[in-house]
Structures are given as C-alpha cells and as structure tokens.
C-alpha cells in the first residue's frame, strides 16, 4: 500500500529525514518509535502533505501513485488520514458542519453520493458512541475549547467517520490519561481491517500495550535504525533509545 524509498526531508535549513525506507501493506499496523527530535512527526506530516517541509530526495508510492505529487486534500480523498498531534481549533466553524464538508468531499472524490443532513447526522450519532464522546461536541466549533483528551478522541472519531485506507497517528497518546488512552485504543482497534493500514507514531511504548503493532521501527536522527516485531517496543521501554543514538551515524552508510 505504502512504500517510502530513501526519503530525504529538510525544514528550516536542517536536514530532518536522511534516507527513510519503509514498506507498509494493507492490514498491517506499524509503529514508529524514537526519541524527541528524531523526525517521527516530520515523517507523519510529510505523508499528510504539510507544505512547510521540503522533500529533497527519495519517493513515496501510495497505492501505485506518487504521493508527493498530490495536494494534501487529494491525499485525504485517496484515503490518507493523519490524526494530528495538536488538533487545530477553528473558531466559528461547527464540528458537524466541518465533518459533513470533509465527508462529502471525500465521498464525492470516490464517486459516492453526498450525504444530506439527515443521513449524515444518523451516521455521526452512530459512530460517536463508539468513542464514548458526548454528542454535544458536534454543536461546538471545531476543537475550540476541547480538553486535550477530547481533541485526541475527536481525531479518532473523525478517522472512524472518514474511513481512510491509511491512518497515520501522530503521537496521539501524548497528553492522554490512561482512561482516555484506552478509549482511543479501542477506537483504533475497531478500525483494524485487512484493507486498512495504520502507522502509529509514538514516543512511548505505553500506547502499544493497547494497540498491538505487527511491526516496530526505531527512528533515530532521521533514519530507521532498527525494525522488528512488537517485542522490540518492550525492549526499547526497558533499555531506552540511548544505545541507538551514538550508533546511528555509523549505521547510516550501510543503509545508503
């Protein structure tokens, strides 16, 4: 489904990703772990199409298409969804209105009929229950005045509603207490399916107790320095990232 080949990315005059390779198949859950500043969030944002990053090398193939040539909204319509680390507040725009615009834009691109207000409301009410969220949030402006936990749950709710093929979760666990974490994980697990791939970007192993990944990759200083199964996450929790940090530079030439 997704193939990242030797990806180099710069931002603010710094090279952040220095040759990332990753292959994700439908039905798989991958976790990308790494210390602060390793480039995890950059990778997520580049996949989503954030324009403040400059891709200087490599390519990303998504469902046979060159992802990097697509505008962010085209990627979204093709099924790429990113749960934001910091969901953005849009004062004055009602959540329901926003979601309806998003859902219908995506449905239209997929050749499906747009939903009217009633159909939309029925669908939303059904999906929102799964996330244990209050329907009242739909009447409030997008993310405005939401607590940290509400914002993150909101992202997963949007994901459930928009039914993407590739879900990228950018540090969704940061700032969540254990109860909220469980709800988020439950929501994500409900979305696991043979047609869908999920990339979970996280600093801590904690989330992976609830969303058990098929593969774990360790990103350090802009490169994936190690890949393995779910047990790798436990190892990282125990021993930390330190042992990779000095060695990353040494490992690089071999990967290039």
């Amino acid at each position: 489904m997704l193939e990242i080949k030797n990806l180099y990315v710069r931002a603010g005059g710094h090279e952040i990703l220095k040759g990332v390779n990753l292959r994700v198949n439908a039905g798989e859950v991958h976790s990308i772990m790494g210390p602060n500043g390793s480039g995890k969030s950059t990778l997520a944002q580049v996949l989503a199409g954030r324009e403040t990053y400059e891709v200087t090398g490599g390519e990303v193939i998504y469902e046979g298409k060159n992802l990097l040539e697509m505008a962010p909204e085209e990627r979204a319509r093709e099924g790429v969804f990113m749960a934001f680390q910091y969901p953005v507040e849009i004062p004055g725009v009602g959540s329901a209105q926003f979601l309806k615009a998003a859902l219908n834009a995506i449905r239209k691109a997929r050749g499906l009929e747009e939903l009217d207000a009633m159909e939309f409301l029925t669908l939303v009410k059904q999906r929102i229950k799964v996330l244990g969220m209050d329907e009242k949030l739909l009447h409030r402006s997008v993310n405005e005045g939401f607590s940290g936990g509400e914002k993150k749950r909101g992202e997963i709710f949007q994901m459930a509603l928009l039914e993407p093929r590739l879900c990228i979760m950018d540090e969704t666990d940061s700032g969540l207490d254990i109860d909220a974490l469980k709800i988020v994980a439950k929501g994500v697990n409900g979305l696991r399916s043979p047609e869908r791939a999920i990339i979970v970007v996280t600093h801590y192993q904690r989330l992976l107790d609830y969303i058990v990944p098929d593969y774990v990759h360790v990103l350090v200083d802009g490169r994936i320095v190690r890949s393995g199964g779910k047990e790798l996450a436990l190892e990282l929790e125990e021993k930390g990232y330190a042992r990779f940090e000095g060695g990353a530079g040494a490992a690089a030439p071999a990967r290039r």
Partner: protein, 479 residues
C-alpha cells in the same frame, strides 16, 4: 516552495459576473451640476413645487460644505462637475407591459425576473435602473392591505402629504456632505408605507442597477411603519465593470412608530474595481432609522462585498422608550477595496437597547475600518448597548482598523464592548485539507463561520445568496 499564504494571495482574482453593460437608448443630462440641472431633474419627475424648493435649499447649503476627510479611505478628488446627474431609459413607462424587453432581460440576468409569470414568490421588487424605477411587482396585491410600495418619484406625486411629512425628518438636508448632495439631486428609490397594525406579508425589495457611463446614482428611500406594523425590506445592487470610478450617494430614512418593527437588509455588490484598484463604485451612503414610538424596533443587516470605497454608518435614533436598534454587518474588502463602515446608536428614550455586531474581513490589499458611535443621552435611563466587533485577516498585506466612540451621559446605562482580531492560519487550512476539504472551501467554511451571527439575521433565501457572494468575492484569495 509555495506556502499557503502565497496561495491565499493568488486566490484574489475572480471575474465580477454582474459587470455587463445594457445597450439601451438613454436620456442623459449633460455632465455638471447647477440649479438648472436640479430644476430639470425635478421637472422630469413632475415634482410638486415644495420638493424643488427643498432640493434647491439643499444645493445652496451643499455649496457651503466641504467634503469630509476624517474617514480612513483614500481616493483622488471627485470632480462633481464631471458627473451626469440623471440617466433614464428613453421611453416613458406606464406599466410592466411597456417596459423595454432589453431592460427585463437585464434584470432577469441579474436574477430579478420582473415579468408577470416569473416574479419571485414572496418578494415584491422595485427595480431601479440608473435614475428611474422601471417596475414594481405585486403593487396591487400590497395595496389591498393599504401598503404603499412604489418608486419614490411616484410617491412624491401621489402621496405628497406623506413624503412631505417624513422626507428629511431623519436625515435632514444639512446632515452631511454626501447626504446634502443627495437631497439636491436624488433621482429615484423606493417608498414604503405600512399602515397601522399591518404585517407586510412579503419581503419588499429594491434592486439598484447602475448602467450608464459617467453618471452618479443618487437614490432616496423612505420607509414608514405605522404603529404595530412590521416590514422586512431588502436591497441589492450591481453595476457594470468600468475603468472609471462612479459615484453612488444614497440616503435611506426609516421611521418606526409605537410597537412597529422594520428589518432592513442590504446586500451591496457594486462593482469593486479590478485587481489593481482600477475602476469601481464610490459608495457614500447615509442610512438612518428613527425609532420614534415606544417599543419600536429597527434592525439593520448589511453584507458589504462590493464597491471600491464603502462609506456608510446605518444608525438608529432611539427616541421612544424601550425602543431597540440593531446593526449586524459583514464587510469584506479584497484586492484594493476600502471600507469605512459601522453604525451610530443614539439612545434618547428610557430603557432603550442597542446591539452591534460587526464582522470585518480583509483579504489582498483590502483595508477595512469599523467606526461606531454609541451615545447615551441624559434622559436615557436604563439604556443598554452591546457591541461586538471582530476582524478576520486573510493574508498579510491587508488591514483591519477599529474606531469605537462611546459617549455616556446617564450613569444608569450599561455598555459592553468586545473586539477581536484573528487570522486564517496556515495550520487551519492544512487541517481542513487533511480532511479532504479544498483550500477555497476551507476559507469559505471559516469565513462563513465567522459571519454566521450576521447571516442568521438575513431572510433565509438571502442568507444563502450572501454566503455564495462571499465565496465569489474571496475566490482567488487562496488556492
């Protein structure tokens, strides 16, 4: 690399789709202004003698006045001798059947069908083309209820007692430079009279169209609501695209008696000029309502998207005890447009209340100024005002300015003032994009969200129009 800000700026280049010119034989008075021109206008309108006298008094007063300079808009000096003050289609019309088909087609093209079969349901329309009203629909039906809805010049002939009683009673001919000029040279506009206890069963609406070159449009509208009556009135306007600037200086007067209510909505879409600020209408307008009676209520709602320059402050004089004045405004400036708009609420009676909600949107190089005055006079015990004044910036070359004036002479008054300035952020646009929403739709969503408190005050069908219009006016400001 193109950033969202660059894109926002490149989205500012949509064609003005109402910019066509109607080719019709017109009777145009030569350019220039003097007493003879005023006599000529008055004669063409077959006005009573007192009205001509009133015009001349205004003209003589105007000669002593200076054009104001306190506003925050900039334009080259207007040569008042280089404007034609009267333009009208040649034939004189007695009924709708005699209206030149070219004119009917023009209004149809603007979405205002006037023909018997196609008239808009639930809306009576007075269509004003340059200096004359060409047709008024549903006139007879309204007359059955005693409602008078007709061209101003017709009212001056057929209902002189009403016109004489109220003309200039809210905006005196000495009021200000542009209102005084209008008093001297006004040509047409609408006249509405709602009798006691009558609730007007349909929206009344006037559609103003400037067509002729080098002419000014000076319309005059007068609405009188007798005790216990209700009327909702809407005006819309467009003009052809021309490289020269054209002057539009209107005066609107509203009078609400005891327990009467007037709801006045404007969708102003005069030609705004091109991307570089060439051409466009100079819109200098004086609008004022007098809540004369107890419990009377006047509400102004305006959506100002057009004109090169907008200069208007629809206000309310709250004379009657417990009377209510409201002002809801969306003003959008894109490209090189300038707007200096707001309101004046003068609290005179006891327990008078006013609400001001102003939303200014600036894009491109647009400059948007809110100017509002709230005055609580000595006798206005228990008066209350709430003002909310928000600005939204799109891009980084535009400007928003706020000048609130507050004058309180009664210590029991309660005043609230809230203001905010925000910017459509790149992160907001990206968030929308990541959910499949295009940049243009994202801007529309955010702008419409920003304006919704005002849009919900508009009659339903016009609220939809207004939303679309904002979309069109902003097209090109992102993308």
């Amino acid at each position: 690399m193109s950033t969202p800000i660059d894109m926002i700026e490149s989205l500012v280049s949509k064609e003005y789709k109402w910019g066509f010119v109607t080719d019709i034989e017109q009777d145009i008075v030569p350019r220039g202004l003097n007493e003879d021109v005023i006599r000529l206008i008055s004669a063409k309108k077959e006005e009573p003698e007192w009205l001509l006298e009133w015009r001349l008094k205004a003209y003589r007063h105007w000669l002593t006045m200076k054009e104001p300079t306190w506003h925050n808009v900039h334009y080259p000096p207007i040569d008042y001798q280089n404007i034609s003050y009267y333009a009208a289609p040649k034939e004189k019309l007695q009924s709708l059947d005699e209206v030149d088909p070219e004119l009917l087609r023009t209004f149809e093209k603007l979405g205002i069908p006037l023909g018997e079969q196609k008239q808009l349901a639930g809306v009576a329309v007075d269509a004003v083309f340059d200096s004359v009203s060409v047709a008024t629909t549903f006139k007879e039906k309204l007359a059955e209820l005693g409602i008078i809805f007709c061209a101003f010049s017709e009212a001056a002939q057929r209902h002189p007692e009403l016109v004489r009683k109220y003309l200039g009673s809210v905006v005196p001919y000495t009021d200000n430079f542009f209102a005084t000029l209008n008093s001297a040279v006004f040509t047409d506009g609408s006249f509405c009279y709602i009798p006691k206890g009558v609730r007007c069963p349909m929206e009344l609406s006037t559609y103003f169209r400037i067509n002729a070159e080098s002419t000014g449009q000076f319309e005059r509208t007068l609405i009188i609501a007798e005790p216990g009556s209700y009327v909702s009135y809407l005006e819309g306007c467009t003009a052809p695209m021309r490289d020269e600037n054209q002057l539009h200086a209107a005066v609107v007067e509203l009078i609400a008696h005891d327990d009467a209510r007037i709801k006045y909505s404007t969708i102003q879409n005069w030609y705004p000029g091109d991307k570089n600020g060439k051409g466009g209408i100079y819109n200098f307008v004086t609008k004022r309502g007098k809540c004369l009676g107890r419990n009377s209520h006047i509400s102004w709602t305006q959506v100002e998207t057009g004109s090169a320059i907008t200069w208007k402050y629809p206000g309310c004089m709250l004379v009657g005890d417990n009377s209510v004045g409201e002002f809801y405004s969306v003003a959008l400036t894109n490209n090189r447009q300038q707007a200096d708009t707001g309101t004046k609420m003068i609290h005179i009676g006891k327990n008078t209340r006013s609400t001001i909600v102003s939303k200014g949107i600036s894009a491109g190089y647009g400059q948007n100024t809110y100017r509002g005055m709230v005055k609580i006079l000595k006798g206005a015990a228990g008066a209350r005002n709430y003002t909310q004044c928000d600005s939204l910036l799109i891009g980084d070359k535009c400007g928003a300015h706020t000048f609130p004036y507050i004058e309180v002479k009664n210590s029991t008054a309660r005043m609230e003032h809230e203001a905010s300035t925000s910017k459509i952020g790149d992160d907001q646009i990206f968030y929308c994009n990541q959910r499949g929403i295009s940049k243009e739709d994202a801007v529309n969503l955010i702008v419409n969200g920003f304006c919704k408190e005002v849009f919900r005050e508009l009659p339903m069908e016009f609220a939809v129009e207004a939303q679309k219009l904002l979309g069109v006016s902003l097209e090109g400001s992102v993308g």
